[in-house]
Symmetry: C2
Subunit: 241 residues, 2 copies
């Protein structure tokens, strides 16, 4: 399950931008590459996070599960995102759990190695802050969407953004089960299903997994003001959705 990570994969990570090569190399040695099946619980809520995990491929959801098994999604992370950077660095007990939604390859390292490297490298610390900032920004958007938009508007906005993020690809797809999408948007699967019908009446269709933007202007109009004025958050090293 765990093996040495490829050095080139790691050096490409935004986390190592501008980091002194001595620091970077010693860290890179210590990384392990892991692979998990869809549905694996990587971090349980209440756990003390002791490893820094970086997604190499796949999608991971951050969520909370209550006693009755209801699930409350917070964020979806994708390739190059760091899992709960703050919890790892500050040895916090996580409020939320992390679960893979697809087969996921992960790069992992003991958090205390990173912590001590951060003492030596302001650049590494800076990059960690950048990652955390990006996730804060996503969280703020999530709060604004939850309080300011209806379910259908959130569904439309999410799918439109997802399509735009895949704009290289021929036909954009929804890479996760609908039940996870519902959780991410703070609604029930039933409401998601009904919202998709409303969204379809406003120019955006979901055919199987494929996202079909039939009338971009109309769906943008329907979803309301865009909270993502920049095309994407990549300068901030966030790939979360």
């Amino acid at each position: 399950m765990s093996l040495r990570a490829q050095t080139e994969d790691l050096l490409d990570l935004p986390l190592f931008d501008g980091v002194e090569s001595s620091v970077a190399e010693s860290l890179i040695e210590a990384f392990a590459a892991c692979q998990y099946r869809a549905g694996t619980l990587l971090i349980e809520s209440g756990d003390c996070v002791s490893k820094l995990q970086i997604i190499h491929r796949g999608i991971v959801e951050l969520c909370r599960v209550d006693q009755e098994g209801h699930q409350f999604g917070v964020l979806l992370l994708s390739a190059k995102d760091v899992l709960l950077p703050a919890a790892a660095i500050f040895e916090e007990r996580s409020l939320i759990c992390a679960r893979t939604l697809t087969t996921t390859r992960m790069l992992e390292i003991e958090a205390d190695l990173v912590r001590s490297a951060m003492k030596r490298s302001a650049a590494l610390t800076f990059n960690m802050m950048k990652v955390t900032s990006g996730q804060w920004r996503m969280a703020v958007r999530n709060i604004l969407e939850l309080t300011g938009r209806t379910a259908a508007e959130r569904v439309g906005a999410f799918l439109l953004r997802l399509a735009d993020l895949q704009d290289g690809a021929a036909s954009p797809v929804l890479p996760i089960p609908k039940r996870s999408l519902a959780s991410r948007l703070g609604i029930t699967p039933e409401t998601l299903s009904r919202s998709l019908q409303i969204v379809a009446d406003h120019g955006l269709h979901l055919r199987g997994r494929a996202i079909v933007v039939r009338d971009r202007e109309r769906i943008k109009e329907f979803c309301g003001p865009d909270l993502y004025p920049d095309r994407n958050e990549h300068p901030l090293n966030v790939f979360a959705i």
Copy 2:
């Protein structure tokens, strides 16, 4: 309006924990102390944030205001909190605006001075990350409360936490207008008013400004699982509510 800040006020800030004194001193020189009346708009949404602002005294709300004037609160910041650290350091355009809710004293410095000091001091960068992490944690909680709790439960949980944070004080108070509390909790003032009646039926009363916890066990039971297992977030340098 603006004058030299007191050095001792600044050195006490968590931001300067463990920071090399040469770096700390040069920064501290550059701080200005400002005072604002309640209701002052410190940062407008869409603004490019170029100053790092730290609250010395008072309360500041982070929120979004839409075209129709509806207000969507995200977080309340209080003494020692840093305003939008990520936006200041990365020169982002802020998604949200910041407005004083009480008379507020602020410590301010040009963001690029901090940015360049962060290049020299991993400790300072580390502290900035800590602050950002704490705000991320608050945001996550906010998301979980919005999706997992009813309005009345959020009201009860907020007031109970507010009372606990003031536990030194003889009688805890609500330091902000109710309309701001409503915005912070993602509800309308009308719903807040009605929720307060429900909460009062479960052991927590608001008499004027005073928060009266009449039956702690009952109100805790009513609000559901505590998302703040640690007494407070001070180790993370968050004072936000």
